[in-house]
Symmetry: C2
Subunit: 230 residues, 2 copies
Amino acid sequence: MARQQKQTATERIRATLADAIVRGEIAQGVTLDEASLAEKFAVSRTPVREAIRQLEAIGFAEARPHRGAVVPNFTPERLTEMFAVMAELEALCARFAAERATDDEKRALREAHDACAHSARQGDIDVYYQTNLDFHEAVYAISHNSFLAEVTLSVRNRVSPFRKAQFRSFNRLMKSVEEHARVVDAILCGDPDGAAAAMIDHMNVVRSTVGEVSPTLRPLDDQAAETAER
Amino acid sequence: MARQQKQTATERIRATLADAIVRGEIAQGVTLDEASLAEKFAVSRTPVREAIRQLEAIGFAEARPHRGAVVPNFTPERLTEMFAVMAELEALCARFAAERATDDEKRALREAHDACAHSARQGDIDVYYQTNLDFHEAVYAISHNSFLAEVTLSVRNRVSPFRKAQFRSFNRLMKSVEEHARVVDAILCGDPDGAAAAMIDHMNVVRSTVGEVSPTLRPLDDQAAETAER
DNA sequence: GATGATTTGTACGTATGTATA
DNA sequence: ATATACATACGTACAAATCAT
């Protein structure tokens, strides 16, 4: 968990901006003005430019030459598309995981699942958010395809701005754990089709709960704004 | 086909470098030196830096702070992983296409397929390369999921450095067309599973033919080096 | 392990293109 | 339609970090 000490300004700005976009603190359609951002971060425009360029390539910004970069506008249709792709990629990870998991990996998966269950029982949404992420990343790892893991994580991150509200209720937390359990069972039993199907189901539920959220997401969760502050 | 007139230096450099990497003209592990590239392109380091940063985000370069960017090293295992992901994504496109293709789209797909067949019969490898690309992109489009199309194309582009040698023989060209035909039939019949399976088969053949190529690919096809030259 | 050479990272100034009056 | 304002794109200079000796 220890982050490297010496970070370049560009890295810091990119991470901060990406986080802000992911969290929804920077709304869609907002133009990322180089000058004002440079002032905000107390650096020159150069690292800000580079950070924006990198965000662009990840899909967190859309840049038009000489006209600046804006946070992309996700239409409901686009969001549906992204969720579908994420679901299929996650399902593929689960499928491969069921085919290839070693005993050690199965144990690790079970542990990740137990951690989810624990935090869900506690009802701590923030902790669950993290353990849930860990669980999914455990599945990625067990897929034994690091490239697939990268692509899936990348897509997941691009969708994540619209996933924050999903764990609002204690009920949802427990249901999420139940859905995970089906995935885990299938992977432990070495049932690829079952694992993929269970994961697709899980992601569809996620999608439907998030679907209730307005597509034009406004900034929320300002309790976690300290990242962009400093 | 008409490219936009006013291109920024960054765009030009990024496109040229990406092309060079895709073509294998820039070998794996080579460090992308900012100064020499700037000289080569007759610009300052600034646009070169930005281009490299963008390449980095697409997976065409790996940058370490203060230590420069290198063209990533693809191990055979990594290559296998990338092919597997590409195959699954292409298969997913085909599946969706079979579910959702309109009559107009079916006609367009058939036309793209016919163009492939024609260029294959001509035995023109370069033309086939393009018509083949058009065919696959037609399938992406018919999937009715533009995000999936983007992700698939992105992965395809990242794998493409290792795909050049696949159409060496006339035989391979005709076989490729036959495989396409099975995909087309399934899509036209509205058979999602069949379309996905046919596409997976097709991609597996592609993978096996490319697998014969050395993993540490050296620059070839220098007859097309004019892009990076100027 | 310290020092110099080299390369990257950042600051800042200028030019160019886009948008608005 | 021309001109003006403004933001971005690029060039240049310097600072900082890495690598080689």
